[in-house]
Amino acid sequence: MALVLSAPPAMRKLSRGTLWAVVALSLLLSVGFFSLLVLSGASKDFNIVGAILVAVILYIIVTFGMSRFVEGRRKATDRLATALVTSAFIVALLPLVSLVYTAVANGINRFDGDFFNSSMRNVVGAGGGGLHAIVGTLEVTAAATVISVPIGIMTAVYLVEYGKGRLSRAITVLVDVMTGIPSIVAGLFAFALFALFFGPGIRFGIGGAVALSVLMIPVVVRSTEEMLKIVPNELREASLALGVPKWLTVVKVVIPTAIGGIITGVMIAISRIIGETAPLLIICGMSTSMNYDLFSGRMATLPVFVYTQYSNQGTDTQAYLDRAWTGALVLILIVMVLNILARILSKILAPKGSR
């Protein structure tokens, strides 16, 4: 608290205890009010979000009023700002909590062996699973990674180690432009590209991989570039002074030093693209059967699976919704695991002895 700096000795101020008491009081009042609504039958079940929002608003008003009365206008404005900023954070947490809760609560119904063991072939109504979609997602993402990582890393190497003048500036700008390409436009590009060669009905997995690469390459370039830039120049100079060729210096000294950051960047890029739906909807299409072949035939992917399960509900609506949520839950889990793994790896592979 910065109170010490600003309060003249004679000024009274609100203690921390009072503030916490106000928090408790406004929570109590708000929860009481909403419980009353439930008890009187005005609303069916207890509205947690409403209760929290009302409590937050109550707290803001009460502290502002009290502070205005006890501490004066300037302190009151400060308290108001603190309360608003804190409540902004709480409000932002609400959707995250609600989303994770809903995904787990609804997804757990079909989070069983069947889901990971069967496809949707000949399934109408209950049963079936998302194995074909999981396999498709893994294949398409792997293909996109195989395309993007070498190009991305080599471009970053060019920009940091070799690039100078107009070409490297142009590439930097264009990487920025690529970062801003909407995912659906990437899908349209892949479609436009392959439709030219294979006709307008073309749908296959590798097209999805190309579309995802367009989205993934700039992310890889950006993160790798940042990592290569922080490799100390002394390392390069020491290696060159020993007579090591430049390319070996890059391969054996620069990249290994930065490898932790590079891998982290790649994994974060993968977690970005693995949930992309729109481009795959356009160029991969959807199928209900297993398809291991990237180069022919429609290929199911997890995000598109979630979307189609939701949008083409059959007569047994609940079965489709359950599958959609389970797919969403699996997707969230994959992304979380990738993110956490990236953080752990960046810790483990961080250059040793530098600090």
């Binding site: 902004a88 471009t155 264009l174 439709a195």
Partner: protein, 314 residues
């Protein structure tokens, strides 16, 4: 540039490994140029038939491509602008909370939590928006239309499902929140320590310090963060496609069941069934979207580059 000064003088003969490696690096860089050129060229090539085709084939009302695309452009910008309006104050609040209010030790963890929002796939946001958010907001909308219906924005008749453009804007706001927050947090953290301490030493309260030292310093970064968030909201597809009950109209009413749809959502919904000239029309709208986001993002980059020292974004 960390290039050793000796690299330019042909002091020794070029080693084949060097030639190969630098050639490969150069090729990768050039490939990016080619890829972007290819994106533009192929999109234009596939979009061209839509511009030249008989107007009657392009859209149902027979007035041609431009009258088809204008409502979509309006919807795209309208939904994104609403999302920005919701997300911007919240993001600034969160960024300030993490950079200047939360205890240092908790702040990093809180940053991770907000970043987690960015990691959630958009299709999951769509599913959440339609099964959780839309039904939850519907009673609120009914109340708004009943009591504030005289404001044109809240004009009725109210949507029975809650699948309105306002719900879409809220979902989009949640999606762009982490982007704007992450960038503005970095900018706020870069405020010179001395500015902040000087303000406090003059007797400013914490809020006055933020208003006088942190916010003016962070303004360019904040603007560019906003633009990047806007760029993301403009191109977002699945959340809009799943949540909105769409129609091709221009309307500012937030709560009715007649909502202007966006370019991206329109493509996603109609592409799987499109054929013939329909495909070209959709690709042409995609090209328009590409140009809009390009404009917004370039503006953001321009602002960042003009005040590079002040910005945490690269």
């Amino acid at each position: 540039m960390p290039v050793a000064p000796s690299a330019t003088r042909p002091r020794s003969r070029q080693r084949p490994g060097d030639v190969l490696f630098s050639g490969a690096a150069l090729a990768a860089g050039i490939l990016i140029l080619v890829a972007l050129a290819a994106v533009t060229i192929f999109l234009i090539a596939q979009a061209l038939p839509a511009f030249t085709a008989n107007p009657a084939d392009v859209s149902k009302d027979g007035r041609g491509f431009w009258s088809f695309v204008v409502p979509l452009v309006f919807g795209t910008i309208w939904a994104a602008a609403l999302a920005l309006l919701i997300a911007l104050p919240l993001s600034i609040g969160i960024a300030l909370f993490i950079s200047h209010y939360a205890p240092r030790r908790v702040a990093v963890t809180l940053g991770y939590i907000v970043d987690l929002l960015a990691a959630v796939p958009s299709v999951v946001f769509g599913l959440w928006g339609i099964t959780v958010l839309a039904p939850a907001m519907q009673p609120v909308y009914v109340w708004l239309v009943d009591n504030l219906g005289w404001i044109p924005l809240f004009a009725g008749p109210v949507s029975g499902t809650g699948r309105t453009v306002l719900t879409v804007a809220i979902v989009l706001a949640v999606m762009i929140l982490p982007i704007i927050t992450a960038l503005s947090r970095e900018v706020f953290l870069q405020t010179p320590r001395l500015h902040e301490e000087a303000a406090l030493a003059l007797g400013a309260t914490r809020w006055e310090m933020i208003r006088m030292a942190v916010l003016p310093f962070g303004r360019p970064g904040l603007i560019s963060a906003t633009m990047l968030g806007l760029g993301r909201a403009l191109g977002e597809t699945m959340a809009v496609a799943m949540v909105l009950s769409p129609s091709v109209i221009i309307s500012f009413a937030l709560l009715t069941s007649q909502n202007p749809t966006t370019i991206a959502a329109n493509i996603a919904l109609n592409f799987p069934e499109a054929s013939g000239i329909g495909v070209n029309v959709l690709i042409a709208t995609g090209l328009v979207l590409f140009l809009i986001t390009l404009l917004v993002n370039s503006l953001a980059r321009f602002i960042i580059n003009r005040r590079k020292d002040f910005s945490g974004a690269n």
